[in-house]
Amino acid sequence: MRVLTGFLCILSGILLSSCGDGKSSAEKFAAEKILLIGNNSEPQSLDPHKATAVADGKIIATLLEGLVRPDPAQEAGVLPGAAERWEHNERADEWLFYLHKDAVWSDGTPVTAQDFEYAYRRILHPQFGGRYAEMLYPLQGAAAFNKGETTWEHVGVKAVDAHTLKLTLNGPTPHLPQLLLHFTWSPIPAHHVEANGGMFDRSSRWARPDNWVGNGAYVTEAHHLNNYLSVTPNPKYRRAHELKNKGIRFLPIVNGYTETRMYLGGKLHISNNVPPEMISYAAAKAPQDFCRDPYYCTIFYRLNTTKPPLDDVRVREALSLAIDRDALVHKVVRGAGTPTFCFTPPGANYRAEQPAAASLTQQEREQRARQLLAEAGYAGGQGFPTLELMTTSRDVQRIMAETIQAMWAETLGIHVEIRACEWTAYKAAQQGMEYDISSSSWSGDYLDPATFVELWRSGGGNNCTDWGNPAFDADTAAATATGDAATRCHHLQQAEQRMLQEHPIIPLYHSERTYLRSARHIRGRQPRLLDNFPLDAVEVVP
């Protein structure tokens, strides 16, 4: 019956519809103060404990307010969110957050410290199986609790009273407010979750758009799968009077070509991504709207250091030096990146030290690469086994792999086979170490170099190269143990340098986001390294 009704609605809509009034969707929605934004993919869930995608995070950020919120005025700035103020001890490993006493959920129930404790307990509880539980591992005892090795009483989260939350961390964490901006640290309405199946019910309907309760600037209005999810101002929100728009529509447009056509056809105010092949077209068609922002993301190749000849550091370095990164960035990704020999992108008061290779010319690098390969016993590529370069089936990755394949053949005389896999098979092979060379990317979850450097800890889940170095681990441990920002930065730089000297990866470029933003309709939006500019600070004008 539902299918029939839907079908009849659509058909009758076609029959009843008249031709448009000549205005584009972007113009019509701008007049209504509703923001139309491309959001890459259909959200997996609005439950912050089940969501994992960046696209989900963007919606959740409008629906739930964590202890702090991003400052629209400055990169890496934080403003009071659900907490009106906070303080920490000298070591910055004990934090007290004082919540707004007048804050309520969208159903009118007060937001309490117990809601935060409930949320953190839920995502960390082994019975729930939170996929992003690791984000809360800086909390004392969180990792052990998540693995079922200890009880909740030993975890560093405590609701002191209804409006005071105490967080105890494993070590000094002066950058905690940056971590708290991630959606996994959002509160959830304990009373509503309990009324909808309880803490461990993964099929709970509490976060369904038609049953939503949140404490953010907006509440869900409508959700149509693969079409759009719309949010409308939350009248119970503390700063509801400051909101500039009457709603936001998130459109899950996976295909960058379709999205760019839709933007240029007046269907969006902000797009998510202009693919490299369309950059010059989009920039020519809408020069005022085309944006190219730095992004906290690095594109690199992982090398399986267990497989000969990649277990030889000279071979790994030769492969790295033979790649002409400038050509790659300018010809393949059409300038949407900055060539690099480091892993961590600049930002958050951190700049990795460039290795010596960065100061050489490409010709000198190639000469050194040939020399290193000869020292490893493969002069001119003689006797070098055929390696496999694994990529996803995305066009840009395949073209990049073909370019690098040609560079290696020309410079080193070696041949690699390209294996393009669909995404899940690619991740399974990468995480199972069933590859030789794997194209990879890493974007920061929060604005701090640790989210990049700590990836390479020995045995780390996302290392996937089997590379490890005790000195590197000691450096990252020292960085975690210190509360002094400068010392911490120094340890992380030192660790990264150690890793880069042994070449378990080949950094290629720090990527940039290319997208379209209507200069006519959008006001107040600023570029952010994490692409997390608060949407409640963006204004749509007719």
């Binding site: 076609i14 519809s17 448009g20 997996q44 089940k50 899940t424």
Partner: protein, 308 residues
Amino acid sequence: MIKLLLRRLGQGVLVIFVLETITFFLVRMLPGNPFLGERKLPQHIMEQLNSLYGLNESALVQYYNYWKGILLHGDFGPSLVREGMQVTEIIAESFPVSLALGVVGMLIAICIGIPAGMLSACYRNRWPDACIMLLAMLGICIPAFVVGPVFGKTLGQLPGLSVAGWDSPLCIVLPALTLGLINAAYLARLTRGGMLEVLTQEYIRTARAKGASGLRVMFIHALRSGLLPAVSYLGPAFAALITGSFVVETCFQVPGMGLHFVNATTDRDYFLIQGLVLCYGILIVVANLIVDLVLIALNPRLRAQGTA
């Protein structure tokens, strides 16, 4: 007739059962699992998720549980990627869109393809025939991912029409036209072939000899039999159309079933794949059954066999 109908239904149920069984085991043989993400999950979390959804059991036990859920509770299982949503909810939301798109697309295909095929047969080996067949060949050869964006870029600028998206009822026009024209090309060729064969039959010559006009011969005497190949094609084509087209849905951002088909497979959303295959299987069986009935109605020889 009823016996034939029952026999076909029985065969259909068997086909669907075999289809579901093969799909069930094949998707579990694919590398990866539904919970793979950008970050590698700790082993204990992966085990917990597998246990929650019964994926830690052997494939045979999972298979038994799957059918038990469907037959005893009408439960087609949850989506493993969009946790909290049921497979039936996802299909119920996207199927009406694909159905509307498929119906409009098929109407366009029939309205253009069949008259074009008839016209082509009438003017056999003359310039209208050559033009129509050239266009039909182009329609078959040019893929939807070329036709779609070209329509979006050109016709999408017309007032009321849309470059892509699904925010007004007229958004259906261009994707339906893309699907319709591709199918019209096939229909035109099939209709032409069927009509040419019939037009050489002796009863047509007799009708002409008796003084029947060209139009009468074409519409009253030849069309019924000449349409048989096209009707045979229409059944599976219609089922394919109303279960969505990934390419057209992607080009025009249509929220139909085609997107789910491909995404569920790449995401290893096991229960959703099963549900979609079941839905597609049922539609194919029903469409073929309807085609059989139409063919019987059109063809007196088949009718005689059916009655016998």
